[in-house]
């Protein structure tokens, strides 16, 4: 699905990603954990095509295509989805119009016709139900005045609507109450298939109780310093990052 090789990225003079290597296959769920400021959101943003970051080295192959050559919108059209850690409010643009535009531009990219209005509305209804999103929210402006949890749920709703091949969820669990957490997880598990893959960035084991990862990676100081199975997350939950920090500091010296 995606192969990330020796990816380096900076903002200004500051190098944030310092050689990331990661291979994700269809059907897999990967969790990325790591302390604040380690570069998790940066990795997600670089993959999604945010231009503030400069990629200085490395390559990313996404379903046979060189991802870094594509504009952000084309990455999305190729099937990459980023659920933002901080979803953006866009006053005046209705959720519905936004999604319709997104869906139809993705379809156009693949040479498909616009989705008939009736089918679109049916899809909206179906996916709304899946993530138990209040219908009123879909008619409002994108994320405007949404509560923190509603924004996160809206990200998952968008994901469900666009049905991506690879979804990167950046701390979608933070700010969610227990019910919402379960709903988001149900959404992900319902969409999960042999053809798609998920990267779940999180600080907490509790999300991983619902979305069980095949692999867990620890991102620290711009690098993946450890990878393991789902038990790695439990270990972290118990021990914290101290050991890794110490190891790293001794390496620095």
């Amino acid at each position: 699905m995606i192969t990330i090789k020796n990816l380096h990225a900076s903002i200004g003079d500051k190098e944030i990603l310092k050689g990331i290597n990661l291979e994700i296959k269809a059907g897999e769920i990967h969790a990325i954990m790591g302390p604040n400021g380690s570069g998790k959101s940066t990795l997600a943003s670089v993959l999604a095509g945010r231009e503030d970051y400069e990629v200085t080295q490395g390559e990313v192959i996404f379903n046979g295509k060189n991802l870094l050559d594509l504009a952000a919108e084309d990455r999305a059209r190729e099937g990459l989805f980023l659920a933002f850690q901080y979803p953006v409010e866009i006053p005046g643009v209705s959720n519905i119009n936004f999604l319709k535009t997104a869906l139809n531009e993705i379809r156009a990219y693949h040479g498909q016709e616009e989705m008939p209005a009736k089918d679109f509305l049916a899809l909206v209804k179906e996916k709304q139900k899946l993530v138990e999103l209040d219908g009123k929210l879909t008619n409002r402006s994108v994320n405007e005045g949404f509560s923190g949890g509603e924004k996160k749920r809206n990200e998952i709703f968008q994901m469900a609507m666009l049905n991506p091949k690879l979804a990167v969820l950046d701390e979608t669990d933070s700010g969610l109450d227990i019910d919402a957490l379960r709903i988001v997880a149900t959404g992900v598990n319902a969409l999960k298939s042999k053809e798609n893959a998920f990267v779940v960035i999180t600080h907490y084991q509790r999300l991983l109780d619902y979305i069980v990862p095949d692999f867990v990676h620890i991102l620290y100081n711009g690098q993946i310093v450890r990878s393991g199975g789902k038990e790695l997350a439990l270990e972290l939950e118990a021990k914290g990052y101290d050991e890794i920090k110490k190891q790293f500091e001794s390496l620095e010296k």
């Binding site: 504009a71 952000a72 919108e73 866009i90 997104a102 531009e105």
Partner: protein, 424 residues
């Protein structure tokens, strides 16, 4: 400041005098004052305080060197008509009875200036002072045969009146449309004024309207300007509102080489209300200049202004909003806001709120903001597969909505929305 006099006015007078019909509905005293004012003051250039960013003298010198005044006749305006409105057509400044719908509604009276009786003629020029502005003077001296539209007391029109001002010439020309609109006591009307320029020559339209909003009357007015690259215009609206009267105007300017709007509203009695909203998009070298005046003369009145501009290429937008609160105008509420998006580095916006407040118990506020398109939002849209162009469209559309949503005539709103989206 005394503006430097230029000979442009004299040249215009010489060029159009020969072809202009003698204006017989404005009294001689006003006519001679108008000419004298023009001769003395000339056409304003950028040294004139009110025309600082809008050097019309310069534009005349550059763009209207050869006014030939060969005006086209216009025989068909069907494509511009709205389905659910009564259409009145003014061609090159003159009311065209043959192109206009018959007004057979009760309580609605339309009289061409040339047919007004002596008393009615006195209305013409009663709000627009010939000695206050060169374009009022110019219009007065060479006014086209416009009309007086009166909505009788207690009459509430159910259907909007669409006044279409068409200018057309294949070489340089100057036209001076003019009208008087009067709403009687408790009357209500919706009036759409649309300006188009359809010839191959440049036309300077110097429009003047005097609007009387009677006691407890409500005038909802829309101005739609889409004159294209050959259209140059100065549009003056002189409005006066009586007790409990309400005046709402929304002006949308989508194109025009030069568009200068002078919208002057006198809140001349207690408890009246005025709203001015504006949306303009400019590109290439266009200049759109909105000048407004809210003249609060009496207590307990409210005024509200919202102007939004989208400025691109090397074009320029101007918003100058003056709020004048006279000493008797206690308990005035006056708000003003101007918001702009600059889409290129060469685009310019000049905004100037002018508050002159002589009463002590008032609530006045103004705000302006100018920014670029929100790149964080663009990225969010891109990340959902929406391309840069559509993302920009969605965001500009969202920006414009606040003004476009003020339009309560659906057909007009849809038409403007469509044209607006094409402009982006």
């Amino acid at each position: 400041m005394i503006a430097e006099k230029s000979n442009t006015a004299q040249l215009i007078i010489d060029k159009i005098s020969s072809s202009a019909e003698k204006v017989n509905f404005i009294d001689n005293d006003q006519l001679s004052k108008a000419l004298l004012y023009l001769e003395n003051k000339g056409i304003p250039n950028n040294k004139h305080e009110d025309y600082k960013y809008c050097n019309i003298d310069g534009i005349f010198k550059k763009e209207f060197k050869n006014i030939e005044q060969k005006l086209n006749s216009v025989t068909d305006v069907a494509q511009y008509k709205l389905k659910d409105a009564l259409t009145l057509v003014v061609v090159n400044g003159n009311y065209s009875e043959s192109l206009s719908d018959k007004l057979i509604l009760n309580g609605l009276h339309l009289t061409a200036f040339s047919n007004l009786d002596k008393d009615e003629k006195k209305l013409i020029g009663s709000l627009a002072n010939v000695e206050s502005d060169a374009f009022i003077a110019l219009n007065t001296a060479f006014s086209g045969t416009g009309f007086h539209l009166k909505i009788a007391d207690n009459e509430q029109l159910q259907i909007p009146i669409h006044i279409l001002y068409v200018s057309s010439a294949n070489s340089e020309a100057l036209v001076n449309p003019r009208n008087v609109i009067e709403l009687g006591k408790n009357a209500e009307a919706t009036i759409i004024e649309e300006q188009i320029c359809i010839g191959t020559g440049k036309v300077f339209t110097n429009f003047l309207s005097e609007k009387f909003v009677g006691e407890n009357a409500k005038l909802t007015s829309y101005t739609f300007q889409n004159e294209g690259k050959n259209g140059f215009s100065v549009n003056t609206n002189q409005v006066t509102i009586s007790r409990y009267g309400k005046y709402d105007n929304t002006t949308v300017t989508l194109s025009g080489a030069l568009v200068r709007n002078n919208h002057n509203v006198v809140l001349g009695a207690q408890n009246c209300e005025a709203h001015l909203n504006g949306l303009f998009t400019t590109k290439n070298n266009q200049l759109v200049d909105n000048h407004t005046l809210m003249d609060h003369q009496m207590p307990n009145c409210e005024s509200n202004e919202l102007y939004k501009g989208i400025i691109t290429d090397k074009s320029t937008g101007v918003f100058n909003g003056k709020i004048y609160v006279r000493k008797d105008a206690q308990k005035t509420n006056a708000y003003q806001s101007s918001k702009n998006i600059l889409l290129s580095d060469d685009a310019t916006i000049n905004t100037k709120p002018q508050l002159e407040i002589y009463a002590d118990d008032v609530k006045c506020s103004h705000g302006t903001s100018t920014g670029k398109i929100d790149e964080v939002a663009v990225f969010y849209l891109n990340a959902r597969g929406i391309g840069r162009e559509s993302a920009k469209k969605l965001l500009l559309n969202a920006f414009a909505q606040e003004v476009i949503n003020k339009i309560e005539v659906d057909e007009l709103k849809d038409k403007i929305l469509n044209l607006f989206e094409n402009e982006l």
